[in-house]
Structures are given as structure tokens and as C-alpha cells.
């Protein structure tokens, strides 16, 4: 495998070439670092740890669902009074569901995913030495870290963690008398999310300004890899929607501790008449979902970007319809602000408004469909290399299809009457968002691991991880659709109180076993990830034969990314298997003058001078050919 680079021959051995003389300490290098690559790793590792915690919580509540009548004495050992006699209590069950959802959505799939890959890829793929504001970047990580700590701390308060669901709808979340988790636990939840949003905003501003201002020479917007496009839209979505969640959270805070009535009205809890009047819980739902829906796209867009890149590289083919991919990202981003009401069809919101939201919701399915078709077209007639990243990407597309088509059910207000707040919804979003986004993230980890750690992960463990997780996720979520159609509501502590749910008890056991096995398979990943840092095979300069700029940086990962000058970009990132070229990839740094045999008229659009040179060369080539005959 060739490791093409057109960098000026710099001396790679002088790592601290860019260190401006001073020596880095452990603290500045690994803890309060301002190097975007190290911050990316911090985000990733924190995200992975949080993912394991959230996964563990989900196994706990799955145990309860599968064997509602059985005691697990071991649970009492580490849950204490919340699992007295080895049986999880109903309130703690809700706390588990709530914290599982919160951690997964915000800390793993938002910070862990876009935090990691924005930090890692933006400077590397656009040819910048670091982020626009490295210090703020560092703050962004540490705010995120503190948010994680505060959220986990809520497990150690007397009244337990927040337990009103990850959507924390008031009045339940506002009244400690209605559920104990709405006491100190909910306060911590709100504080944690407040800090988290600050982290997101600092990160977002940084990502956007870096992408817009710090692209290297030749890196026009239309030459950016799709990862960067996706991360750009993600950051914009976050910046526009997270502040709305702040307002929702702050008003809830007021209602809880200062006696205001933004969300509360006409309430009698435990025989006590509360003074609140005039508020509306629906207001909270509007504010929450104005963030909440863009949030689900904040989660999936980076995965789209990663998967576009990985599929293209490993099919050895340009991504099909690059422009369409960008426009569909744009379309999804814009539309995602206009559909939040589809979470509220049956909340008592004006039914006419529901009808309008239904129309906008189904429109958003069009750009989503375009993306899927383009992925499939990219694979078509490719020359597919099944790296672990590639198999995860194919898995991601499969999940996105399976989960996306159920969007047509829930997006249809009339059908949603039947399936809202049932297991059907759980199945829908775990496939389309949960599984698809996680697979995108894993694809990214397997793909850019050599860039992060200079070593390769073990392929075979990767495949094992993929197949068990892929099958496991389908085994877990496909049956849930049918429970939902049957009318089993979500967030039920046990299925034992209703006769019609009894037929699902055995299915629940099956689901829980699938979840446990898929969960254990993640150990293969954790092992692979941490063990390969020290013991993996050494990475080569460009292990996947990719075109993008990050593979022109030295393997040693120096501060400032490139020794010497920044690379210049001459072409788009998807010249894979271009006819006429001897290799099946042409890095972005290779000028057209070096690839005369493979240039196409299309490459010179708007540059008659270059076109003329090309034509002259081709004419000359003909003569040479003639002569050699």
C-alpha cells in the first residue's frame, strides 16, 4: 500500500518542532490539554465509560422486565435499599430508565459522538493546526466532564436520581411529592444538563468558526469531506436548539424552587392543594421538543458523515451524489426545526397543529430516504473492503432503514394515536437513533483509531463485536414493535398486572437475554480499544488508502498536526478508483498536473486554461500512443 504524501520533506523525527520550546507536563499533555486530538480522546473515553454505565443500567431494568417475580439477591449488594430483597423497586426502575436515556442521548451520543469526531476530524480534515479557540475547547470538555460527574452523583443522594423519564415532563418532574426522584435527584439532573449545554455551546461555536475560517489553501466548501459537512450542520443545530432547552430547564427550576407557575396549574398531590395556577405542562413539552427533535438529528448527523466517508473509502468508490448528500443534510437540518410537534400529537395540543406537524414530519423522510439510496448506490459496483469500520457502516445503514420506516407510522398522527408512548416508539428510536448512531460512532472509532493512537485495532475482535451486537440489537428491538402494536405502554415496571400482556412475558425473557449477550460483546470492544493502545499493530501512514488530509499527518500525532507547511488541497476527497489512474485512490493533496492520465473534463469546470492544458496533453498522448504502435 502506497503512502502517498506531497508534503515538503520534513523531518518527522523532530516531534517537538512545534512546541515553541517549552516542555509539556503530564497535566498539560493529558489533563488540561488544548490539543484537539487529545481533547477528542478525552471525549471519546469519557463517552465510552458513560456508555458502559448506561448499558449496565439498562441490563438492570431488563432483568426486572424479564423476571418480574424473581429475586436477584446480588442486586441488593450494590443497590441497597433500592433493590431490597433483590428486587428493584418501581421508583428505582423509573430512575434507571431515566438515567439510562439521559446518559445515552446526551453524554454518549451527543458529547461522546460529535465531541469526539468534531475535535478529531475538523482540524485534521480541513487542514488546520488546531481549533479556533483551543482554550474554550478545553473548557468544553471539562464542563462535559463535570456534567457527567453531577449526573452520576445523583445515584448517591438519599431520594434517588431523577425518575420522570429522560424527557422530564412536569408536573411529575416538578413535584417531589409525586415521585421521590423529583427531589434532589432532579435538581442535580437540571444542574448537570445546564452545565452540559454550556459545554455544547462552547464546543459548537468552536466547530463552526474553525470550519468556516480555518480551512487550508484550496479547501473550498465543496471540497470538504462529508464528515465535515455533517459536523458543521450538527454544530449549527446544537447552537440553535440547546439554548431553548436552557430556558425550559431554568423555568422548571423556578417552578420547583421559587413557586412560579410556568408549567403548573390545578394540582392536588397527596391531598394537598397546590397554589400554582395558570401554567401549562404543554409549554414545557414545546420547549423540550424544540430542542428534542433537532437533538435526535444532532445525534445522527455525525454518524451520517462518518458512514459516508467510511463507505466511500471501503467501497473504493466516490460517494454517490456528493451534492445531494450535502443538500439532504441541509434539508434535514432545516426541517428538523419544524417537526417537534410530532412528539405531541396526543398531548392535547391543538389537533389542527398536529396535522401541520404531520405534514412537515413526513417531508423530512424524503431527504432521509435520499441518503439511504445514495449509500446503496455507493456500494453498487464497488470493490468492497470489509474492514471493521465498513461492516459497522453497513450495519448502520440497515438500522437506519429499519428504524426510519417506522417513522412513517409514528409520523402519521392518526396511527400515532395507537402507538404513541408504547414499545413501538421505543423500538423506533432505538433502531433509528440509538443503534444507528452507535454504529456510526463505532465505525468512526475503528476507522480513525490509527489516527488517534498510532496503532491498529484487532480486526477479528471487531468482527465478533459487530456480529453479536448487530444481531443482538435486532433481537432486542424488532419484537418491541409488536408489543407496541398490541398496546403495551413504555416505562412499565412489570407486565404482570394486565392479562393481555402475559403473552409478552416470554418475549421479554428473550429480549433480556439478547441484551445481556450483546452487552457482554461490548467487552470485546473495550478490550480491543484499551489493549490495542499499547499492543496493537503499528499503524502505517495511510492504512485505509484514504484521500482526506488527516492521513498526510505524521503517525506520531504532533501538536500542530503538520510539521512544516500546511498541505494544499487540489481536488475533492472522493477520487477513488478513478479510471486512468494507476492506484485506486488519489489524495486531496495531489494536483491535477500529476494525474493527467485520469483527469476528466468535469474536473476543470470553469477553468478554460487548465482545460486547454489537459486537452493538449491528451493530444500529445495520442501521438505517443500512435508512435509506440
Amino acid at each position: 500500500m502506497a503512502t502517498t504524501t506531497t508534503l515538503p520533506a520534513a523531518d518527522y523525527n523532530h516531534n517537538d518542532h512545534h512546541d515553541h520550546g517549552h516542555k509539556e507536563t503530564f497535566i498539560t499533555k493529558y489533563v488540561f490539554t488544548q490539543d484537539h486530538k487529545m481533547i477528542a480522546k478525552q471525549f471519546l473515553i469519557t463517552g465510552i465509560i458513560m456508555a458502559f454505565i448506561a448499558l449496565f443500567l439498562s441490563i438492570l431494568f431488563r432483568l426486572q422486565l424479564a423476571w418480574p417475580e424473581k429475586d436477584f439477591p446480588i442486586l441488593e449488594v450494590f443497590l441497597g435499599k433500592w433493590a431490597e430483597g433483590g428486587r428493584i423497586k418501581p421508583e428505582f426502575f423509573l430512575a434507571l430508565v431515566t438515567i439510562h436515556g439521559t446518559i445515552m442521548v446526551f453524554f454518549v451520543l451527543t458529547a461522546g459522538l460529535s465531541g469526539t469526531f468534531s475535535n478529531l476530524l475538523i482540524p485534521l480534515q480541513i487542514g488546520a493546526r488546531d481549533m479556533a479557540a483551543p482554550f474554550m475547547n478545553m473548557l468544553s470538555y471539562w464542563f462535559f466532564f463535570v456534567a457527567c460527574v453531577v449526573m452520576l452523583a445523583s445515584f448517591f443522594v438519599e431520594s434517588g436520581p431523577a425518575s420522570a423519564g429522560w424527557t422530564i415532563y412536569p408536573p411529575l418532574s416538578a413535584l417531589p411529592t409525586a415521585i421521590s426522584g423529583s427531589g434532589t435527584g432532579m435538581t442535580l439532573w437540571l444542574i448537570s444538563i445546564g452545565i452540559f449545554i454550556a459545554s455544547q455551546v462552547m464546543g459548537g461555536i468552536n466547530y463552526i468558526s474553525t470550519i468556516l475560517n480555518m480551512r487550508t489553501k484550496g479547501m473550498s466548501l465543496w471540497r470538504m469531506p462529508l464528515t465535515i459537512w455533517a459536523l458543521l450542520f450538527t454544530a449549527i443545530l446544537g447552537l440553535l436548539s440547546f439554548p431553548v432547552l436552557v430556558s425550559a430547564v431554568v423555568l422548571l427550576f423556578f417552578d420547583r424552587s421559587m413557586g412560579t407557575s410556568f408549567y403548573l396549574s390545578d394540582i392536588i398531590v397527596q391531598g394537598q392543594i397546590l397554589a400554582h395556577e395558570g401554567g401549562s405542562p404543554i409549554l414545557f413539552e414545546h420547549l423540550f421538543w424544540f430542542l428534542g427533535h433537532p437533538e435526535v438529528y444532532i445525534v445522527i448527523l455525525p454518524s451520517f458523515g462518518i458512514v459516508s466517508e467510511v463507505i466511500s473509502i471501503n467501497s473504493r468508490k466516490p460517494i454517490f451524489g456528493y451534492h445531494a448528500m450535502v443538500y439532504s443534510l441541509l434539508g434535514i437540518s432545516v426541517l428538523s426545526f419544524l417537526v417537534w410537534g410530532h412528539h405531541m400529537f396526543v398531548t392535547g395540543m391543538s389537533p389542527f397543529l398536529g396535522g401541520v406537524f404531520m405534514i412537515t414530519t413526513l417531508i423530512i423522510a424524503v431527504p432521509s430516504a435520499v441518503k439511504v439510496f445514495n449509500y446503496i448506490a455507493t456500494i453498487w459496483r464497488g470493490n468492497i473492503r470489509f474492514t471493521p469500520a465498513m461492516v459497522f457502516s453497513i450495519g448502520m445503514v440497515s438500522f437506519f432503514i429499519s428504524g426510519g420506516i417506522t417513522g412513517l407510522f409514528v409520523g402519521n398522527a392518526a396511527i400515532d394515536i395507537q402507538v404513541h408512548d408504547t414499545y413501538f416508539i421505543v423500538a423506533h428510536f432505538h433502531l433509528v437513533m440509538g443503534s444507528a448512531a452507535i454504529f456510526g460512532m463505532l465505525a468512526g472509532v475503528y476507522h480513525w483509531y490509527p489516527k488517534m493512537f498510532g496503532r491498529m485495532m484487532n480486526n477479528r475482535l471487531g468482527y465478533l463485536h459487530f456480529w453479536i451486537t448487530f444481531v443482538g440489537a435486532y433481537f432486542v428491538f424488532i419484537p418491541m414493535h409488536f408489543m407496541g402494536i398490541d398496546g403495551v405502554p413504555r416505562r412499565y415496571y412489570a407486565f404482570t398486572s394486565f392479562e393481555f400482556m402475559e403473552k409478552w412475558l416470554s418475549v421479554n425473557v428473550f429480549i433480556t437475554w439478547s441484551a445481556i449477550i450483546a452487552g457482554l460483546a461490548q467487552v470485546a470492544f473495550a478490550w480491543n480499544f484499551f489493549h490495542s493502545m499499547k499492543h496493537g499493530k503499528l499503524a502505517t501512514q495511510n492504512p485505509w488508502g484514504a484521500n482526506t488530509l488527516e492521513w498526510t499527518t505524521p503517525i506520531e500525532r504532533i501538536h500542530g498536526n503538520w510539521p512544516g507547511e500546511l498541505p494544499t488541497v487540489h481536488r475533492w476527497p472522493y477520487d477513488y478508483s478513478k479510471p486512468g489512474h494507476s492506484e485506486d485512490f488519489i489524495p486531496q493533496t495531489v494536483p491535477y498536473s500529476e494525474t493527467m492520465s485520469s483527469n476528466l473534463p468535469h474536473d476543470f469546470e470553469g477553468n478554460p486554461e487548465a482545460e486547454k492544458i489537459q486537452r493538449e496533453w491528451e493530444a500529445q498522448q495520442l501521438v505517443v500512443d500512435e508512435e509506440s504502435k
Partner: protein, 447 residues
């Protein structure tokens, strides 16, 4: 090789012991004096001494060692002993069992590692023997995708055939039938899309697995193709949207007149129960005001409103078949959701804002029992919005009967404004008028 294997073993054991140590620490259980002891044998004892109340019985439990915690209740009848016993009640066997599970998992890891090593060795020797260049296409994965495709398609079929038939029941209301039509059309369309795209995705993955002999086809875009697959979904979706929109409006946009003529029933949700109120002779549910709530008047019904006087209290929701019903849904505390799956009815119960649903039941409970072939079958009202610890068990029977049966049933129900309620109403309104003259005047003038 051997050294590497050794590192593996060390690492795995380190992980296991680390995990065990973590679980031994009772910190998760927030006991005040968390005593951590790494020794498995003694953990049970330590745990009991970690109980915050340092009573005499407590110490005795700790002293008598793990025996006490292993065997069940000592015959002592003192309440403190019972309490302490409860806290200390984790038998040592629990730890042993858990340890075995961990060991089992480690064993599985070992087997996987060994299999992996065997595979590597095999591959290496194969490579040496055939002098194959080490290729990096990993095309064996393509075969897995082919198998995956077949399993996936069969799995879809199996799910529809088994889980599908046991989950889908015909709707028992008139609007529900329309939702069902929409549901079935959407299912057909999406199933076709699901199958075709997966055949393409996994099929192409298999067919175009890499090899050194080929080069991929440079095919960056095709505008015609892209237009086709933008417009096709757009058209299909437009049809679904229009169909859905009119169905939705048909369900939710009932003319005022028609709503008034329907049987009026008010449902008020609270943690964790449903209260049912029928409009009575005047078919009008009287006003309620949450400030009037008392232990007797749980709904806060305003009996100064005449239409409240004949409101009927019911234990179950009983409906006459074929007659329109207009539900008004309230909540006393947090959000709940009024959900009757077979009726295709779902609407949230929101404190401070009544919500509505209009239905016409199509089948009586008896007819439905015959349809599903289950003589004990019942329609049931569930709560589908998370509302607290009892969320999973907030049910009410819904019974659909013939008109005659309905009238018969109704005549047996009692009024909300019964003797106790009347007494309380008088008591509450009198002292107010006596003590607070201004207030009393206001009340009078309000009337």
C-alpha cells in the same frame, strides 16, 4: 506468542478482580459508614456492620459472623432484630453464585481468545503454504452478509407471522377501523421498502466484495437517478400524508353539535387511579374546581353548578354499543394518558387543561370475546404516560354493552352528590358565610 498470552491472562484477571472489588463496595447503597473489605468471605459480615443504626442486635449479628446472614430469621421476636436482620440478609451464597457467573464469562473469553489464536495460526500456515499475498479485502465477511440477508428476511417473515398475528387485533371503534386501514397500507408500503433496500444493501455488499482483479466503477453521480429516488418517496409520502391528514381531522375535528349530543363522560386521572363521572340525566358533566377538593369531594366538583347535582359515579366505564361517546379527560396531579388500545384511543390527561376524545364503539364486549375466542376477554383502560411508581398498574375495565343493558346498569349507579357529600357541602358553605361576611357575599353574588 506465549508472552502475549500471558499478558492476556493477567489483564483478564485484573479486570475480574477489579470488578469484584467494585461490587463489594456498598457505596452504591449509600450506607453512612461504608465499610469496604476486599475479602470475599467476610463481606457479608462487614455489610451488616455498615448499617447506620448501631443497636445491640446489630452488633450481635455482626459478631455471630456470616452464619446469621446465611441462615434465615433467628427466632427473636424483637422488632429491632427483625429490622437488623433485613439489612443483613444477603447470604454468602449470593456472592459465590455471582463469582461463578463472572468465572463463566472469563472462561468464555478464554475460549474466544484461544479460538482467535487458532484461527490466526491457521491463516498464517495457509498463507505460507499457498504463498498467498496477504490480502486486505476480508471478503469472508461478505458471506456473512449473504447469510445475514437470508436470516433477516426469514426473521421478518417469522416476526410478522408470529408476533404480528398475536399483536394485531381489529379495532373496536368506528374511527379505529379507519386507523387500521391506514396502518395496513403503511405496513405494506414500508415492508416492501424494507425488503428491497435490504436485498440491495446486503446483496450488493456480497456481490461486490473486493478483489485485486477488479477496480470499482467510478460513478460519482447520476442526476436522473437521484431525481427518481427523490420524487418517488415524495409521491408515496404525499399520498400517505393526505390520507393520514384527513383521517386525523376526521377523528379530532368533530363538529360542536355532534360532540354535545354524544354521551358525556368525564375521566379524571390521579396517581394511580381513574375517576369516572357520567353526565347524568341532563347529559352534562358539572363544573369542577381543584380548590374545592376535599377528602370527600375528591374531584372538587362544584355543586353550586346545577348540572353537577345529577352526575353519576361509576366503577367501570360502561358504554352502549353504536352510540357516540364524548370523553373529557382531566388530571388531578401529574400527566397521565388515557389509552384504550382496542379502541385506538389515546389522549393525555393534563392538569389544568381538559382534553377530549370522541368515539363510537363498534362491538360489545361479548362480540369481541367471540371474535378473539377468549371468554374472559375485556377492553381495558391503561395509563400510557409515565406518572410515578404505580404507572404500570393503573387500569380500569371498559365494558361495551347493548343499549338496554346500559340503561339497566346506569340505573344502579349512585350520584356523586350523595348524603355525605351533601352534608359536607352544607358545612363548608355555612361557616364561610358566617365568618367571612365579604366572602360570603361574594359567593352569593356569584350564584
Amino acid at each position: 506468542m506465549r508472552l502475549k498470552g500471558f499478558i492476556h491472562i493477567k489483564g483478564v484477571f485484573g479486570l475480574v478482580f477489579g470488578l469484584l472489588f467494585l461490587f463489594h463496595s456498598p457505596s452504591f447503597a449509600q450506607t453512612d459508614t461504608a465499610a469496604v473489605n476486599a475479602d470475599t468471605e467476610q463481606v457479608a459480615t462487614t455489610d451488616s456492620s455498615a448499617v447506620d443504626s448501631a443497636t445491640a442486635t446489630d452488633t450481635s449479628v455482626a459478631a455471630t459472623d456470616s452464619e446469621v446472614s446465611a441462615t434465615s430469621a433467628p427466632a427473636s421476636a424483637s422488632t429491632t432484630a427483625v429490622a437488623a436482620e433485613e439489612e443483613a440478609g444477603i447470604p454468602a451464597q449470593v456472592y459465590v453464585n455471582f463469582f461463578y457467573y463472572v468465572l463463566l464469562f472469563v472462561l468464555v473469553c478464554f475460549i474466544v481468545t484461544i479460538l482467535g489464536q487458532v484461527l490466526s495460526v491457521y491463516e498464517l500456515t495457509q498463507g505460507l503454504r499457498k504463498k498467498l499475498p496477504v490480502n486486505n479485502w476480508h471478503s469472508h465477511q461478505a458471506w456473512f452478509f449473504l447469510v445475514g440477508l437470508i436470516v433477516f428476511l426469514y426473521g421478518i417473515y417469522w416476526s410478522y407471522a408470529h408476533h404480528g398475528t398475536q399483536s394485531f387485533r381489529e379495532a373496536a371503534t368506528e374511527h379505529g377501523a379507519r386507523i387500521d386501514t391506514l396502518f395496513i397500507i403503511t405496513t405494506i408500503i414500508t415492508t416492501i421498502v424494507l425488503v428491497l433496500t435490504h436485498i440491495a444493501l446486503f446483496g450488493f455488499a456480497f456481490k461486490y466484495r473486493g478483489s485485486d482483479k477488479r477496480k470499482a466503477y467510478y460513478y460519482p453521480h447520476n442526476n436522473a437517478l437521484e431525481k427518481i429516488w427523490t420524487i418517488t418517496p415524495a409521491v408515496v409520502l404525499t399520498i400517505l400524508v393526505l390520507f393520514g391528514f384527513f383521517t386525523w381531522r376526521g377523528i379530532t375535528n368533530i363538529p360542536e353539535e355532534q360532540q354535545k349530543e354524544a354521551l358525556q363522560i368525564e375521566i379524571t386521572a390521579e396517581q394511580f387511579a381513574w375517576n369516572i363521572r357520567y353526565g347524568g340525566r341532563d347529559n352534562t358533566v358539572g363544573k369542577r374546581n381543584f380548590k374545592l377538593t376535599t377528602p370527600v369531594n375528591g374531584l372538587g366538583i362544584d355543586f353550586t353548578d346545577n348540572s353537577a347535582l345529577d352526575d353519576i359515579r361509576a366503577g367501570d366505564i360502561v358504554l352502549p354499543v353504536g352510540k357516540p361517546v364524548h370523553f373529557t379527560i382531566n388530571s388531578k396531579d401529574v400527566l397521565h394518558s388515557f389509552y384504550i388500545p382496542e379502541f385506538r384511543v389515546q389522549i393525555n390527561a393534563v392538569p389544568g387543561m381538559p382534553t377530549f376524545f370522541y368515539i363510537v364503539p363498534k362491538y360489545t364486549t361479548e362480540e369481541m370475546r367471540e371474535k378473539v375466542g377468549d371468554p374472559d376477554y375485556n377492553f381495558i383502560l391503561l395509563c400510557s404516560k409515565i406518572c410515578g411508581s404505580g404507572h404500570y398498574n393503573m387500569q380500569k375495565k371498559v365494558i361495551v354493552v347493548t343499549d338496554a343493558e346500559y340503561k339497566e346498569w346506569l340505573s344502579q349507579q349512585t350520584y356523586y352528590f350523595d348524603d355525605t357529600m351533601q352534608k359536607e357541602f352544607k358545612e363548608l358553605s355555612q361557616p364561610k358565610q358566617a365568618n367571612l361576611v365579604i366572602d360570603g357575599n361574594k359567593m352569593v353574588s356569584n350564584n
